[in-house]
């Protein structure tokens, strides 16, 4: 009798131990899907993931970059099997939340107060916060010091107004040398800061497109004016692929690009003598755009797996994670205020001997104070296409700003009605 009881107790103990042993060795593997911006950044991310795995031996994390993240993810969503962690571009968030693939991050994000409020806001929809930003870029004004010196002009500064920008572009344009004053890409998101600077907004309180307003018209007239008056133009008007290239080649005296332009210019145009300042202010003050992605967690996982996924995300985006972004960044800024100084310092050491002052990059950080989100409601893809096509036509003068506003408003109404 006794031995039987003892045996069964022993058996239970052994079974429990076995179960625990299995649980302890249970490996969770997490895939982080995103894209590769440059090898240096990939290496830094990998180092960070290695550090995580050293601290959490039961979790293995792999970063899988894709050449076309959006398409790859849509495919994975369709197949029902998708990575536990994936980059979510701010402009994609509404679509992907609607598709039900992004988990809610309200109670999971570590120390949300430490993030720039704007960034937390961008990944909040209808009061629900989904994910912490990975890093971010804001638009600022780059200027070619040599061209400014040659024209005998003062360098741009943070107090500049629209009029200053226009006057400088006019003075810097040299048609014979093939130099334009300001490169103005025909892209909706590049124009948006001017709308906000003019005091306008994209939508009114009822969610209707509000471009047909004085501010909307003024901002469009101003932006289109650079092309129609011949003191600015698209990148392709000066045989370049994008604004950064036009600026690097010295064919545009000023450009409005984000942080991604820094490493690009340093790598490809080491001789360029350039500076950065904040975008000019409009009637209603300062405004710029924030371009950012977050680490989304898959909505189809739960339990230990979900916990591990959030651990990885927080490890990458907490104070320490932000510092590692600051130290290894090829451009985009850390998302926590605590790491802003480290960001500038790391550039200080990496721009030694270069013809740019790393202190200028504070202009990008300053932009976080008055940045707007790059995000549209679900289904607004056709509207952006129509707007960009309209901009191209307005630049050549084949349609007026009023025509353009009328046309894109029609497209927006169709989207809202449908």
């Amino acid at each position: 009798m006794r031995s039987k009881t003892l045996n069964s107790i022993l058996l239970i103990v052994v079974l429990c131990m076995a179960a625990f042993g299995v649980a302890a060795q249970d490996q969770i593997s997490i895939t982080v899907a995103g894209w590769s911006s440059n090898p240096a950044e990939d290496a830094a991310l990998q180092a960070r993931l290695d550090a995580f795995m050293a601290e959490n031996p039961n979790v293995s994390v792999a970063f899988v970059p894709s050449s076309d993240h959006t398409v790859t993810m849509q495919t994975a969503f369709a197949s029902g099997e998708y990575p536990q962690v994936f980059y979510v571009d701010s402009s994609r968030l509404p679509d992907w939340v609607e598709a039900g693939v992004v988990a809610v991050g309200e109670d999971e994000i570590e120390n949300p107060e430490g993030l720039y409020p704007d960034l937390l806001d961008i990944f909040t929809l209808d009061g629900v916060t989904y994910c912490p930003a990975k890093d971010f870029s804001t638009m600022a004004l780059q200027y070619n010091k040599d061209l400014f010196d040659a024209a005998g002009l003062e360098y741009p500064n943070a107090d500049w107004t629209w009029d200053d920008l226009r006057a400088a572009a006019e003075a810097l344009t040299d048609a014979d040398a093939g130099v334009i004053g300001l490169v103005t890409p025909p892209n909706f998101e590049r124009w948006l800061p001017f709308l906000y600077q003019a005091g306008g907004d994209l939508f009114d309180e009822d969610g209707n497109l509000a471009l047909d307003s004085d501010a909307g018209r003024a901002a469009l007239e101003f932006y289109v004016g650079f092309s129609t008056d011949g003191i600015g133009g698209t990148p392709s008007s000066v045989d370049s692929g994008w604004g950064g290239e036009a600026f690097g080649l010295g064919r545009a005296a000023m450009a409005m690009e984000g942080n991604w332009v820094i490493q690009f210019l340093l790598d490809n145009y080491p001789d360029l003598n350039w500076g950065v300042t904040e975008l000019p202010a409009g009637e209603a003050g300062e405004a710029t755009m924030a371009f950012t992605v977050c680490y989304g967690v898959a909505a189809n996982i739960e339990g230990a797996e979900a916990e591990a996924a959030w651990d990885v995300v927080n490890f990458l985006t907490n104070d320490e994670g932000a510092l590692s972004v600051a130290e290894s960044s090829f451009g985009p800024m850390p998302t926590r205020i605590s790491a802003a100084e480290a960001y500038i310092e790391s550039w200080e050491s990496r721009t030694e001997g270069a013809n740019v002052d790393a202190q200028d990059f504070n202009a990008f950080i300053a932009g976080s104070e008055y940045s707007h989100r790059w995000q549209l409601p679900v289904g607004y893809g056709p509207f952006v296409d129509a707007f960009n096509a309209g901009l191209e036509q307005a630049f050549t003068g084949s349609i007026t700003v009023d025509d353009m506003i009328f046309e894109v408003t029609l497209v927006a109404e169709e989207i809202q009605g449908g």
Binding site: G244, N268, Y269
Partner: protein
């Protein structure tokens, strides 16, 4: 190709034997200069690809036209602190100092060797399977009389009329249901037979006189013996053409690879990898790295072409019977 055209026109020229006069000579000069111009148009991009793959980044952006290496030893593109060296230190006029930065980057930073191996695997398997399936199907459609043969042929031919883009989603769904998305066999299976190859082989087999097979039948050969021992060896030109088309098509296949194995990075082939080198937004592309990858991607195709070029030319003059 240009060389064969030139050597062929040469005898024609001498055969004229002085009876031509000025007009004829002008025509020759005009023809030659046209050929030279065309050859230049074909080769200049290739030369620039190779030269720019050996440049430092500032050179690729600011002096892409420099194509003459000024020395044989490689320079370092970066200073000790990792900054790019100025343009004048690596390029002057049309000459440039070569560097290995692009190649180091491709082979060191990216899993290029594994992309290469995958591409070889896909291309070899797909080509072998296509040769087998397409020639068997083509022979059946050309020689065997079975009910529904014409309809079947038109169905096969009909798939050629459908734009490939239309098939992407159904193909994706089918492979997902079978459960072979993101596997080697998924991509190989999906490309293992193609209507173009079946059509090509059928047309070729029909051009072979039936007398040969009838003679073999008299000697007691069955269908399979006839096919493998007699017809297939005679079909070398068509099989060669099919080999080249399939190998090259699979080697350069981006779309199917993206849809079928795009989700798993260790199954990527070279075109997918090259897109990865391009970067997410394509703007901050590192040209020397990208072009170094392009050179690696091109070399095997170039070798394949030069090896098989002979067969192309020979294949024009095949014949089974005299008269």
């Amino acid at each position: 190709m240009a060389t064969t055209a030139m050597t062929r026109s040469a005898p024609a020229e001498t055969a004229g034997g002085g009876g031509g006069g000025l007009g004829r000579r002008l025509l020759t000069i005009f023809g030659l200069s046209f050929l030279i111009l065309f050859a230049l148009i074909q080769t200049v991009p290739f030369v620039l690809t190779i030269s720019n793959s050996f440049k430092c980044l500032p050179g690729t952006r600011q002096a892409p036209e420099a194509f003459i290496p000024s020395q044989l030893n490689f320079i370092d593109c970066r200073t000790a602190s990792g900054a790019s060296i100025p343009l004048e230190d690596s390029v002057s006029g049309l000459t440039f100092k070569p560097s290995m930065e692009g190649y180091d980057e491709v082979l060191g930073t990216y899993p290029f060797p594994s992309w290469f191996a995958n591409t070889v695997i896909y291309a070899v398997f797909v080509t072998v399977l296509r040769l087998a399936f397409d020639s068997l199907a083509g022979y059946a459609l050309a020689r065997m009389d079975f009910p529904g043969r014409r309809i079947m042929f038109f169905v096969v031919l009909g798939t050629l009329m459908i734009p490939a883009v239309v098939l992407i989603i159904p193909r994706f769904i089918i492979l997902r249901e079978i459960g072979i998305l993101n596997t080697y066999q998924g991509l190989i299976f999906a490309l293992a037979a193609d209507a173009f190859g079946v059509f090509l082989m059928k047309q070729f087999f029909e051009s072979i006189p039936t007398e040969i097979e009838e003679a073999a039948q008299v000697d007691g050969a069955n269908r399979f013996t006839m096919f493998f021992r007699i017809v297939l060896p005679m079909a070398t030109p068509a099989l060669t053409a099919l080999t080249i088309f399939s190998f090259q098509g699979t080697w350069n296949n981006f779309m199917d690879a993206l849809i079928i194995v795009g989700g798993k990075a260790d199954l990527w082939n070279l075109p997918l990898g090259m897109a990865q080198l391009r970067g997410q937004f394509g703007e901050t592309l590192e040209w020397n790295t990208f072009l170094a990858g392009a050179v690696f991607t091109t070399i095997p195709m170039a070798i394949l072409f030069f090896v098989f070029q002979r067969y192309f030319v020979e294949g024009v003059s095949y014949s089974g019977l005299k008269g």
